[in-house]
C-alpha cells in the first residue's frame, strides 16, 4: 500500500476547541423519563397482582393434589 492519501489541511485550533457537541438528543432516555415509564408499568402490573389468587387456581391445585394423594394409596 504505497498509495498516499493527500495530506490534510490542518484545521486551526480555535475552531475545534470551541465547537459545541452535537445538539440532538441522545438515544438514552433521561432517568426521569425512565422513572415515569417504570411507574406506569408497575402500576398496571400491580393492579393485577393486587387481585390475588382467583379461586379457580386454588381449586385446581387442591384437586390435583387430591388426585395425586389418591393415586399414591
Amino acid at each position: 500500500m504505497n498509495e498516499r492519501k493527500p495530506a490534510r489541511q490542518q484545521k486551526p485550533m480555535e475552531t475545534t476547541a470551541t465547537r459545541k457537541k452535537n445538539n440532538t438528543k441522545p438515544a438514552k432516555l433521561s432517568r426521569e423519563v425512565q422513572a415515569r415509564l417504570g411507574q406506569q408499568l408497575r402500576a398496571m402490573y400491580d393492579d393485577v397482582v393486587s387481585q390475588g389468587v382467583p379461586d379457580r387456581f386454588v381449586e385446581l391445585l387442591n384437586r390435583l393434589n387430591g388426585d395425586a394423594n389418591k393415586d399414591s394409596h
Binding site: L41, A43, L60
Partner: protein, 181 residues
C-alpha cells in the same frame, strides 16, 4: 405424587404475579388465565425437575413464557407481530377487568415486539434481575438489556413522554411522581 405443602404455597404465592405477566403478554384476561392454568398443570406434571431452593417464581415464569411463545407461533405463524394483531385484539376488547385505567399504556405496550415486551415486563415490573430475565427468556444478559432499552425508548415515543413539562396520559402517575420528586 403428592405435592409438598411448601411447594404448594410457593406456587400459590407466585400466581398473582404470573397472572400479571400473562395479561401483559397476551393483553387478554381470559387467555391469560388459561395460560396460567396450563402453566400450573405443566409445572405439577414436571415438579420433579424443580430444584428445591431455587426460585419457584422464575421457574413458573419460564414455563409460562415458553408456553405462550409456542401458542403464539401456532396461532399467528409468526413470533414477531408487535405492530399487528395483538394490538387489534386489545382494541376489540377494551373494557376488560383491570384494563380500563391502563388502557393507553397497554396499547402502547402492545405495539412493542414480543421479545421487547416480555423483557421490559420481567425487569421493569416483575422485579427479576437482568440475569434472571435472561434465564427465563433463554438469551444473553446483554440481549435482555438492549431489549429493555429499546422497549423504553419506543414506549416513551408512543406515549409522548419526553420531559417534565409534558405529562403522559395517566393523571394518577403524574400525581404520584410529582409528590416523589
Amino acid at each position: 405424587m403428592a405435592m409438598d405443602e411448601s411447594v404448594r404455597k410457593a406456587i400459590l404465592a407466585a400466581v398473582p404475579s404470573l397472572r400479571a405477566f400473562a395479561i401483559s403478554l397476551s393483553g387478554n384476561v381470559d387467555r391469560a388465565d388459561d395460560l396460567v392454568q396450563e402453566t400450573l398443570l405443566r409445572a405439577l406434571a414436571n415438579i420433579d425437575s424443580f430444584q428445591p431452593g431455587t426460585n419457584m417464581s422464575a421457574w413458573l415464569f419460564t414455563i409460562l413464557r415458553n408456553h405462550f411463545r409456542s401458542e403464539y407461533r401456532k396461532r399467528r405463524r409468526e413470533v414477531e407481530d408487535g405492530e399487528g394483531r395483538y394490538a387489534e385484539t386489545l382494541k376489540s376488547q377494551p373494557e376488560q377487568q383491570g384494563q380500563v385505567e391502563f388502557r393507553e399504556f397497554r396499547e402502547a405496550l402492545a405495539h412493542l415486539p414480543a421479545d421487547q415486551r416480555e423483557a421490559l415486563i420481567l425487569v421493569g415490573a416483575s422485579g427479576f434481575s437482568y440475569e434472571e430475565a435472561a434465564n427465563i427468556c433463554g438469551c444473553a444478559v446483554g440481549t435482555i438489556k438492549s431489549r429493555v432499552n429499546r422497549a423504553r425508548t419506543r414506549l416513551s415515543e408512543l406515549l409522548s413522554i419526553h420531559s417534565a413539562d409534558e405529562f403522559g396520559p395517566d393523571e394518577q402517575t403524574r400525581a404520584v411522581l410529582a409528590s416523589g420528586e
